[in-house]
Each structure stands twice: as structure tokens, then as C-alpha cells.
Symmetry: C2
Subunit: 139 residues, 2 copies
């Protein structure tokens, strides 16, 4: 399951994605409308900015807005950022690989091979779908 933080990130992105382009939106507005605790949301938006997905303007008339094109914000990127690996086991993770403690030989581990297949299938979906797909399905 996705953490609340990850879910909040998607809600915030969706809200910002629906706005007029390059128009700064207040954190507090996003917080209210998406029902995400404001302080918590702050750090989420900041992370999204550091990732180059959003950007912000400080001071009066400031706020956050989308920098990337919605179709370039893939689900996989957001999930990895806030939720960690897509893979179900560290030993089959592309971005967060770690060897198993108990497994002496990965090549002979059936679980490893199966989970690799699962990861590939999952990745096919989440690396293709993007914020644009979410927006398209909003009423």
C-alpha cells in the first residue's frame, strides 16, 4: 500500500494539475482543498520541487505550480520518491537494490526470479501512466 504521504502527493499534484498554467497556488489553498494537513503538505511540495516536478514563488502572490508537463510525471517517479521501491523485494529493485541476507546465491533463488517478473509487469504499468492519465479521469 502507498503511504499517506504518497497519496497526499498525488492529490496535491492532481489539484495543481487542474489549475491554470504557471499560476502560483498557496500551500494553504492546496491543503484545504485536498484535505491534507498543511504542515505535512509543505514538506511534500518541497520534495516535489526538489525533484523538478513543481516550482514555487516566494512572497506575496507566491505559491506552487506545476513545472513538468503532466504526462512527464509518471506514477513510478512519485511512488519511488515518497514510497520507496516499486519492487517487492530489495534484491530485485532497480533503484534501491540490496542483496538478501539469507540468500547466498541470487541466481539460484526462485523467489528472486519470480519477484523480478512481478516487478517488470508492475513497472510496465506505473512507468507508463502519468499525472495526465489521472487528470483525464477526473470529472
Amino acid at each position: 500500500m502507498l503511504s499517506k504521504k504518497t497519496k497526499y502527493a498525488f492529490h496535491a499534484l492532481t489539484y495543481l494539475g487542474k489549475q491554470e498554467k504557471r499560476k502560483p497556488i498557496l500551500i494553504s489553498e492546496v491543503a484545504e482543498k485536498t484535505k491534507v494537513p498543511k504542515k505535512f503538505l509543505e514538506s511534500i511540495l518541497l520534495d516535489l520541487k526538489k525533484a523538478g516536478i513543481l516550482t514555487s514563488k516566494m512572497g506575496k502572490g507566491g505559491g506552487y505550480y506545476l513545472l513538468k508537463d503532466p504526462e512527464d510525471v509518471k506514477l513510478a517517479e512519485v511512488i519511488r520518491m515518497f514510497n520507496g521501491p516499486i519492487a517487492l523485494l530489495p534484491c530485485v529493485s532497480l533503484n534501491y537494490y540490496e542483496p538478501c541476507d539469507e540468500c547466498t546465491d541470487e541466481a539460484s533463488c526462485g523467489l528472486n526470479k519470480i519477484m523480478l517478473e512481478v516487478r517488470d509487469e508492475t513497472l510496465k504499468v506505473v512507468a507508463k501512466k502519468s499525472l495526465k492519465d489521472i487528470l483525464n479521469r477526473e470529472e
Copy 2:
């Protein structure tokens, strides 16, 4: 990611799946060979027994052995048992459904619709693959 408990469950199942049919194996043997803490493993095996996947014999010459046919032990079943929902959000979970706090109308939520698609794709894989597939890929 899968919890250690879930991973341990798969390792234990794999070990038991490789044994002679209906031959009881000691918890301590499984613990040693799979490098799972024995006491932790006990509760895992017990859960698998309650689920009808394994069964056990008490007393001397006792132990655990596989009850179900390996191809009937689907990844999805084991994951649900130890790790919880397959879905990424409660509002799209088949077995653990819960409505979102923040979302007033599921039908108009783009995130919901996308995550439903992701769940369906994931399910296609984990509901089809089974312990048999893991065993086939062990050397």
C-alpha cells in the same frame, strides 16, 4: 515492499515445497535452512496452517508439511495474508476496501480510477503465479 514476515513465509514455503510429500519437517530445520528466526517462523507456519496451506504433526516425528498443491498456493494469497492488500490504496482494494477520508466522491476521483487499473494489472500477475513457479525456478 514485502515485509520480512512475508518474505520469510515464501522462503519457508519454498523449502517445504522441495521436500518429499507429506513428510513432516521440524520448525527448527526450516528455521536453520532458511535463516529465519525460529520463534518468528513458528507464528508464520501457524498462520499458513490456519490458512490450509500447510499442516503439521505434533510429537516425535512431527513437523510441518505442505498440504496444498504448490500450484494452488498463489502469490496473491500469501501476500494478502502477511502483507495486506495488493492494491495501492484502500479505496481500490478488493479484500480490504475502505473509503478515503478526503475523497467525497469516488466516482469522480481520477486517482482512484488509475489505481484501480494498476491493481488489476498487478493482480493479473500475482493471482496467476504460484509456489510452483517459484519451485520451478529454483536450481
